[in-house]
Symmetry: C2
Subunit: 206 residues, 2 copies
């Protein structure tokens, strides 16, 4: 006879999800979640740093997979090819099937201010590895950051679109469509921008 049932973490996640859907996030307390699983709230906080975190375990997983996946990029890709390749990987790993559960999660997150906030900062976790990989490929930190943020934002938009649909278009195609359309609207550098940049960088160095 085992002293404790296995899979406490998973059961906590499940119970939390249920309760949040039944009563709302704010109206559900941690002791309540713990009670449904038959543990103490202290145990809950041992598994999850805070109440919100119970819904975002996946994101951390995706970030790890992403970091691992990005290091396996075929050599010789140009930066834009690298992005296409990375989007494909993410789409294949994180966006197959289980659309319905993702929809429910999305609805939950959208329903509460604190959850929306946490979701945003989870994007940081995603574009962190991405940005690092781009720096390794020779981009400046600032450029890498902007490119990573843009790509992840496109991915997010594409994911939203994907969740609205029922067909089987893959997320990376949607993301690339979005990026393509984006380019059409971005101001072209040549039009304006006196570009007093490169000069002043040196002045600071003094």
């Amino acid at each position: 006879m085992v002293r404790w049932e296995a899979g406490t973490r998973e059961r906590l996640i499940h119970a939390a999800f249920e309760l949040f859907e039944e009563q709302g996030f704010a109206e559900t307390s941690v002791p309540e979640i713990a009670a449904r699983v038959g543990v103490t709230s202290r145990t809950f906080f041992r598994y999850f740093g805070d109440k919100r975190e119970v819904l975002f375990g996946n994101e951390d997983l995706m970030a790890e997979q992403l970091r691992a996946g990005l290091s396996e990029a075929p050599p010789g890709l140009s930066t834009d090819e690298f992005i296409v390749w990375a989007l494909g990987g993410i789409a294949r790993e994180g966006f197959t099937g289980n659309r319905d559960e993702m929809r429910r999660l999305r609805a939950l997150v959208e329903s509460d201010e604190h959850l929306r906030e946490r979701a945003l900062s989870k994007r940081l976790v995603l574009y962190g590895p991405f940005s690092d990989a781009l720096v390794c490929r020779g981009l400046s930190p600032m450029q890498a950051r902007l490119l990573a943020e843009t790509t992840i934002a496109a991915l997010q938009v594409a994911a939203d679109e994907w969740l609205l649909r029922e067909d089987s278009v893959s997320v990376d195609v949607l993301a690339l469509d979005a990026i393509g359309a984006l380019e059409q609207y971005l101001p072209k550098l040549s039009i304006n921008a006196p570009a007093a940049v490169d000069v002043d960088v040196d002045e600071i160095a003094k």
Copy 2:
């Protein structure tokens, strides 16, 4: 003799800023801040929804100014001209002088997880008005969102760059430079992407 000193809100902000710099954000309690100003913590929470908010009053102000400013855009601008114009406005309103205080604020925010999280969601407040304005100009909600996020991200990167410098380059120029460089790295739609988009959108409508 006045029962209460004027400008409680400003004095709370000031006291909080000082204490956060002296001891760190996590190590400073709300009662402590309130005590330094000579009020109760209850009063603090009447001015600020939560402890973090005391550092982000400006962002809300900027968002309002932005929303107001965007509605005054000269007619006849194309989308990319509109973006250039908007960036100019933001730079003129929010990024003149007081660089040193902004640097200190930035350092504070970077020093704490919860503050970084809040800073991110404040960006939502900024790109909300932007995105709305773009929708009014005929973009689809998704496109508007992506374009707005990209622009604000560029602004953020440019602001970071600006804070690192001492010269007088304006933020909007830096942002446009960043966007220019960004375009160079974005995958071109023509290369790939079978683009199964427009068809399926209609199918959903049924």
